[in-house]
Amino acid sequence: MIRVTTEALSADALADAVTVPEAGGVVVFLGVVRNNNAGRRVVALEYEAHVPMAEAKMKEIGEAVYRRWPDVKQVAMAHRIGRLGIGEASVVIAVSAAHRQQAFEACHFAIDRLKETVPIWKREIFEDGAVWVGLQGESPPAR
């Protein structure tokens, strides 16, 4: 299951999607919206994606996982876009494997790779403005 969606993410749904009889371990990673960054209070995050490309890149990450960890049975990834409040999940990755070590390693790899290669951007919303994350030095004034 690979999905970019405006709807709330369910960790249980992704865990279920990867749970197969051959798997002895399921690792689920949730990325959630934190209430602060670099000392500023964050009230919400807004995510934007190049949706078809994001889903294609997530699928490539899944394929890379299957090549690298032969014991991995299933990988599921979902990323939410739109405006998210504090504590809401922006990304969920679930990996099942015959044994836990490969599930942990593959899940760690998948979230790192997702953040590097999947075209999704976030904007931090503060009480008094907003800023796109990345290239902070290049940012136009918050508005």
Binding site: E48, L114, G134
Partner: protein
């Protein structure tokens, strides 16, 4: 040839457009498209060193020549930020 360019995140916000069309000679590269785009929207020019390009669902180099009908996407680095080497994993 006319090339459709989609813009994301701060590029979309800076120009007020999520999609623009530029007219470039046949055989033009992605860089030529960027030049036409930033001429039409000078607010984008300073972002060039950080810009990522895609054709379809794949990242491409700026030197990539375009076929008629291909669309280009321009965007800033993705929100995971760091340009670190993915091989560290």
């Amino acid at each position: 040839m006319k090339v459709a360019v989609s813009l994301f995140a701060r590029y979309r916000e800076a120009t007020g457009r999520d999609r623009v069309e530029v007219d470039v000679p046949e055989g033009s590269t992605v860089e030529d498209v960027w030049r036409a785009l930033s001429a039409a929207h000078p607010v984008l020019a300073r972002y060039r060193p950080h810009t990522l390009f895609a054709v379809g669902n794949d990242y491409v180099d700026a030197e990539r020549a375009l076929e008629p009908g291909e669309e280009v996407a321009c965007f800033p680095p993705v929100s995971g930020g760091g340009r670190h080497d993915p091989r560290h994993d």
